[in-house]
Symmetry: C2
Subunit: 277 residues, 2 copies
């Protein structure tokens, strides 16, 4: 499919990240361009309906941008999803979520990539940064070694842990914890002032997120993997379950609250087409 002028407007709106700070925006833009540069022509333009590329609540207090680019048939990438959500809070502040995730298809059984920054105030941020495994690592210890041990993926987590403002974050959803990897970064950062939060984003979250994306690009997405028929069927089942739950738990619970049932259903129904394995 060809990108239309409307699609280009949707993409510009996404890349604008109009509601987050400069270090936060730079972090996201660097990740998006690193990912897109690596896959270059393998990614099709985003062709979501305009009212799914950008949507808002009836009152206009919440708005969001969504971009999904599917991989060409010769690519290991199934699709790349980028998004931001901005919502004014009754308390006067705002909630800002930015996320980037990349899902591989069944030709490659490597982990996916996921980053999500949830900023609920200028001095409070939750970071989820992970390469969620697509196989049961208990049954596949070689994959644990290849993707997580040999790549030293626990190092960035340990580095982040040393910063005094960084505390572990436990998702209230046990399913979200279950699908995460043993080196998942799930932290809550609370700073006395906004300035310090921007420092932490610039000096720590930015390099660490690039490092994790680098591991994903070099050792996962671009790995030559031999996926047999039986494994492929198993992967399809597991991917399908995880993606279904992602829509249901992660998005299905917060989207209707933020955007109203009608808008949420429109967006989720469209997303579901991509999330089907």
């Amino acid at each position: 499919p060809m990108a239309t002028t409307q699609d280009e407007a949707g993409r510009r709106k996404f890349l604008d990240f109009p509601f987050v700070s400069a270090p936060h925006k730079n972090l996201m833009l660097d990740l998006v361009s690193t990912l897109e540069n690596r896959f270059d022509s393998q990614l099709l333009p985003c062709t979501l309906p305009p009212d799914v590329q950008h949507y808002q609540s009836q009152s206009g207090t919440a708005q969001a941008s969504l971009q999904i680019r599917s991989g060409q048939s010769n690519s290991p990438v199934d699709f790349v999803l980028g998004s931001w959500v901005h919502s004014e809070l009754p308390t006067g502040g705002s909630l800002d979520i930015t996320s980037l995730s990349a899902y591989l298809n069944l030709s490659n059984d490597s982990p996916n990539f996921l980053i999500e920054l949830i900023r609920s105030s200028p001095t409070m941020l939750v970071l989820i940064l992970d390469l969620p495994p697509r196989k049961d690592l208990v049954l596949w210890p070689d994959d644990l070694k290849t993707f997580y041990e040999d790549t030293h993926l626990d190092k960035p987590r340990q580095d982040l842990e040393k910063i005094p403002e960084v505390q572990p974050y436990y998702s209230s959803s046990l399913y979200v914890r279950t699908v995460s990897s043993p080196t998942a970064i799930m932290v809550r950062i609370e700073t006395p002032e906004e300035e310090r939060m921007e420092d932490i984003i610039r000096n720590h979250l930015d390099p660490i997120s690039k490092q994790v994306l680098g591991v994903w690009l070099d050792h996962c997405a671009c790995a030559k993997r031999d996926v047999g028929e039986a494994e492929r069927a198993h992967l399809k089942k597991r991917d399908g379950l995880i993606r279904g739950k992602t829509i249901e738990i992660d998005l299905g619970s917060s989207f209707p609250r933020l955007f109203g049932t009608e808008v949420a259903n429109r967006v989720l129904d469209t997303m579901r087409e991509y999330f089907t394995v």
Copy 2:
């Protein structure tokens, strides 16, 4: 098999917990008796060789007690393992590890039980308390609900997290993290004085560990589970892998260091017989 006088001596030595504080000993004794009372006559006496029930390093600076009781054929319990390890440290202090674990057999696909207290000084303790799942919870969300959500297993973890001296503990082994459940309690506790540590053990670790064991007894070990042939084969494979890795990683690395190769091999070879599925 009948218990001999030597076996009774081995059991007494285990239950003596001679090197740990009164609150620590009470915690362990309560768990052992709660577990044994529930299964009562279903557990056979420990018939390990005397030099595996109690063993020490050549220099005598490290000694340990081990008890394994197999379940009768009518029991869902495969075996219950209790142990303490005491090792004098070159720095003058001592390392004391006490543990209790219960492994179910293939007639029941519920999680196992595991508690381990690692005290490396009077003011430093690591607690691992978990019901490690025996199935890939991503593929079995109903099990996640039954064993972890409906039983509110995250509550004791949250309660413990609120104590200021309690910090999360990350095992250096990614495999150990991988086999743990989404509600696993893995914490490091550091207190200014020994007295405060004993308070925390008495007032927090004691009730919390009983609560988790209670969930395991009521909702896992005594659950009526219908395990089909295919599931049973899968369970056997996964149990086998985890048990093998437990010997290899968890014990295989520290035992030779503490007790020397000869003693370590003697103990591990005997344990391996029980750990085979």
